[in-house]
Structure formats: structure tokens, C-alpha cells
Amino acid sequence: MNIVVKDPRLLMGRLVRDRILSEVASYVNKAGRIGKLVSISIGEVPEIMIYVRNQAAAARAAGLGFDQQLWSADIPQEACKAAIQAMNDDPEVLGVILQRPVPAHINVRSLQSAIHPLKDVEGMNPASIGNIVYNDVAMAPCTAAAAVELIRETGLTLEGLEVVMVGHSEIVGKPAANMLMAAGATVTVCHHMTRSVAMHSRRADVVLVAVGKPHLIGADMIKPGAVVIDIGINQMTGADGAVTIVGDVDTDAVSQVAGWITPVPGGVGPVTVAILMRNAVNAHRRQTDAGWIG
């Protein structure tokens, strides 16, 4: 029999995910009647189907209703907008998830703006992002919030920590930077034009990476004992043709230096979908406070 000793340096997403989902479930139980999440997919895209399945499973675990809508690939923009606006007015709809990508004729930003901020469980409406910049982080983009949650899992106090965020995408890097700054961290944002990422990352207490480049971050770029949060998801095909999923961090090498590291897969990913459910709970609280629902 093999005895599996879990490496304490690994920040396992599954545990955090389960804890958040059980918190959500207990809220949902107490709330009694609570609306449903609506997932909108426009046109059939195989990779979206996997996301939606995961979200549906998490919603089921949390006791939340989950309505999977598949709209036809040639639906006009105006029809999408009208349907979303109807959901804004529908008290049975707790939150709206707009799956991406969408067909080329759809203006995704315009549709994201159409989702009311109180139902914007993905945190994609510019007004939702504005709230995050202004330190109101209750409904933040899920991947960014999952990364922050995993940093908290180490038990470190965020205030005063030196954090380097590698990657400045709108849906991960920038919101994560804003959330960490709101928590009192000193944040440096690096990206593809940064002259020397290592110069910044080697000084950091926490390094987050979300650029989509396999093994970009090596052991020589990390301060001993630092926290490393790997948000990248890359497919690699080995010499034998086998496909594996790796992050942006050379996990084996970096784990010899880091104090904590998130594995890929199994780190940030599982937490992301749990955050979506927690956002749904926060949406319920806000809609209740606003007098939308009784």
C-alpha cells in the first residue's frame, strides 16, 4: 500500500473550494427561497460546455438553482440585450453568467454592461470593476478573487506584503492587483514590456502569475519562503504525444524554494467556481439590502 504524504507547501484548491461551497450552502439553507443563476452560452462551444458543467455542479453542491441557457449562434445583439434586461427585472434571477467566447457579431462588452451590477456575479460590468478599484470587492471577477483567497489561506497578513502580479489582463491581473492593494499590500504589476520580471519577483513575498506561458517562472525568480500563485493553464504535448496541463510556473523547481505554491491543475481553478457561488450569495445580500427582494 502506498502512503501518500501531502506536501504542506502545496495550496490545494479543493479544500478551499469545499469550505466556500459549504459556507454558501449554509447561507442558502437559511435564506430559504433564493433565486437561480442563469448561464448564457451563445452558440455551442465545446470548451464552454466544460465550464458550464463545472459551474452547474458547484451550484448543485451549494443548493443554488442553475439555469443553463443555450442561445442560437445567430441571435442578434439586440435580442441578447433585451433578454438580459428582462433578467435584470426578474426577481427569480439571482445572477447572470455570460459565457465566453461569443460569436463574432456579438459585442460582449456591451452585453456585460447590460448585466445589472447587483446581478453581475462574474464582476464584468465596468461599474463592478469600478467598485473593486474603489475597494468594494464583494463581487470581484472570480479568478482574481480565487487567487486572493489562496493567498489568505497561507495565514499571512496581506497588509504591508510585497506582491508582484505578473500579467495585467483585464479579467485577472488588474482586478487581482486592485484587490490586493485594497487589502493593504504593496503591489507591483509586471507584464510583457517589463524589463526584468525577476528583478521584481525576487523581492516579493507573494508572486502571482497569469500570462499563459508554460514555466515562465523558475526557481531563480522566487525569494525563499515566498507564496507563489499560479493562475496559468497551458496545454503541453509531450514527446510521447500525451497532453498535460501545466501552469506558468515551473512547479517542481519553484516548490523547492517557495514557502507555498498552488499546483496546476488543482490550485486556483477549483476555487474559481466556488467564488462564483459566493458572489451569488453576495448578490443576494445586496439585492435584499437594496429592497429588490424580500
Binding site: 470593476i129 469600478g130 478599484v133 474603489y134 510585497e162 483585464e170 488588474k174 492593494m181 504593496t186 504589476v189
Partner: protein
């Protein structure tokens, strides 16, 4: 070698000339007059000075200025009704509500009632989010002015290490977004930052916006770095003697100790005469940009981020 002095006062004049040129062109080619509405509630003396100065410069650039002065006890409903009228008025392209508002008025509510397309201060929550996601927005005037000064001095900012000191909503945070937009590597330092001096010493660009007189000294600055001083602080100046009222005279200083920073920096903005004059110039620039967008015309180049 002494630092180059970045002449914000002079550069603001250039921006105003550009704005005036675009205003003349809009009138001639399209029969449009960009209009800026400024709303002042109450009689705060400093706010009155700002509003007067904004109105004067608006008119000097050939734009229409609409000043709305309301009593200090104006109700929220009346103020919101005025904003709704200005939102609907096609002659008004920019709306500015002078802050601070009297205590009984909810500033967030009032600012977020402005049509984001007319929010020339760039404080509406949607504009904040649009800027944070790299989309077209109205950009807050003071950080926009700093960006223009940096671009004028350096040309391209790409790859430079920038440290923004201060994480305020009106300067520090939008400044960081703008510098990221120009591909700087950006660090935001603030009151919780552990070793702020050391952080600054690694920066090619330091933007100080904390409101603490002469906090940044020359030993914080990397030789040759560019220092943008957003602070405006009034301090006692006993060396100037006492005034007729028997009080010690005062002077304006920035967040950076000018002499020691200028001895090390490659370039520095003075206080006064650096960032300050750029703010109203950028307000005028934003109004022209808003007018062009509202009418489906190409935006003038170089007047926004």
C-alpha cells in the same frame, strides 16, 4: 547636473491652445460649440475660486460655460433634477460637480447620476471601471495631466519602472492605470508600504500624490529619474516674515522636497507651476473629447490617454 524643470504652466498653455484650435474647427466645420457645465453647491471659498477659474478658461478657449450656483441647503432631489436636465441638454458636453459637497448630499450618488459620457472629471464608477479595463473612458484630469507631462518629456514610457506614491481614487489609482496603459511596470506605494524609500530608489518615474509636505527627499530618488509632484501643501514660511495681519507668511510646497530631489533627479515638476495648471487644461481637453464622441466625430489626438 541640475534636473530639467518640467514646465507644467507652459505646457498647460500649449494644451489650451490645442483645445482652442479644436473648438474653432468644431464650430467652423460642424457648427458645434463644446459646452462645460459646472455645478457649485454652497459657498466654499476655495471651490468658488476653482469654479471661477474653470469658467474663465472655458470661455477663453471658445467653449460655452454654464455655471450653476446652488444654495448650500439645496436638496438632493433638486441637485439630481439639475443633473438630469444637464444630462439631457445637447449643448452640454461636460458636467462637473465641484467637490466637496455639503454634508447632507451623497457625493457618490450625485457623481454616479452624471451621464458617464459627460463625466469630464472621470469619477463616475463606470468610467473608473472602463479605465481599469483599458477601455475608452473619461480620464480624471490630474493624472491625465501627469501622463501628458511624462509623455512630452520622455516620448515613450514603455518598460520604465514607475512608482506611484498614494492610492487615492482621484490621483494614485487612475495614475497607476494610465502608466500601465503606457506599458510601465507600476508599483503603488502607500501608508502600509514597508520600505518606501528603497522602492522609490529603483524607479525611473516617481509620482508623488499623498498630500504630505516635502515627504519625498533627494535620497529617495534614483539619479536621473523623473519626479512628478502632485502635492500642493501650504506651510509656514517664517523666512518670509509676517504679514500685515500679524501671521507668519506661508508658501506652497509639494510632496517632494524640491531642492534635494532636483539635485538628483533628471527632471522634476515644480510646485507651484508643475502639475497644478495641467488639471484645468485637461478638463478643457476632456470636454472637447466628450463633444467629439457625442457627435460621432474623430477625437483630437494627444488630448486624452
Amino acid at each position: 547636473m541640475a534636473a530639467t524643470i518640467i514646465d507644467g504652466k507652459g505646457f498647460a498653455g500649449t494644451i489650451r491652445e490645442q483645445v482652442a484650435g479644436h473648438v474653432a474647427r468644431l464650430k467652423e466645420d460642424h457648427g458645434l460649440t463644446p459646452g462645460l457645465a459646472v455645478v457649485l453647491v454652497g459657498e466654499d471659498p476655495a471651490s468658488q475660486v476653482y469654479v471661477r477659474s474653470k469658467g474663465k478658461q472655458t470661455v477663453e478657449c471658445g467653449m460655452a460655460s454654464f455655471e450653476h450656483k446652488l444654495e448650500a441647503d439645496t436638496s438632493e432631489a433638486d441637485l439630481l433634477a439639475l443633473i438630469a436636465r444637464l444630462n439631457a441638454d445637447p449643448a452640454v458636453h461636460g458636467i462637473l460637480v465641484q467637490l466637496p459637497l455639503p454634508g447632507h448630499l451623497d457625493e457618490d450618488l450625485v457623481i454616479n447620476a452624471i451621464d458617464p459620457a459627460k463625466d469630464v472629471d472621470g469619477f463616475h464608477i463606470s468610467n473608473v471601471g472602463l479605465l481599469a479595463t483599458g477601455q475608452k473612458s473619461m480620464v480624471p484630469c490630474t493624472p491625465l495631466g501627469c501622463l501628458m507631462l511624462l509623455r512630452a518629456h520622455h516620448g515613450r514610457l514603455s518598460g520604465m519602472n514607475a512608482v506611484v506614491i498614494g492610492r487615492s481614487n482621484i490621483v494614485g489609482k487612475p495614475m497607476a492605470q494610465l502608466l500601465l496603459g503606457d506599458s510601465c511596470t507600476v508599483t503603488i506605494a502607500h501608508s502600509r508600504t514597508r520600505d518606501i524609500q528603497e522602492l522609490c530608489r529603483r524607479a525611473d518615474i516617481v509620482v508623488a500624490a499623498v498630500g504630505r509636505a516635502e515627504m519625498v527627499t533627494g535620497d529617495w530618488i534614483k539619479p536621473g529619474a523623473t519626479v512628478i509632484d502632485v502635492g500642493i501643501n501650504r506651510i509656514d514660511a517664517p523666512e518670509k516674515g509676517t504679514g500685515e495681519d500679524g501671521r507668519v507668511k506661508t508658501r506652497l510646497v509639494g510632496d517632494c522636497e524640491y531642492d534635494s530631489c532636483a539635485a538628483v533627479a533628471g527632471a522634476i515638476t515644480p510646485v507651484p507651476g508643475g502639475v497644478g495648471p495641467m488639471t484645468i487644461a485637461c478638463l478643457l481637453a476632456n470636454t472637447v473629447t466628450a463633444c467629439c464622441r457625442a457627435n460621432g466625430l474623430a477625437e483630437p489626438e494627444g488630448l486624452t490617454a
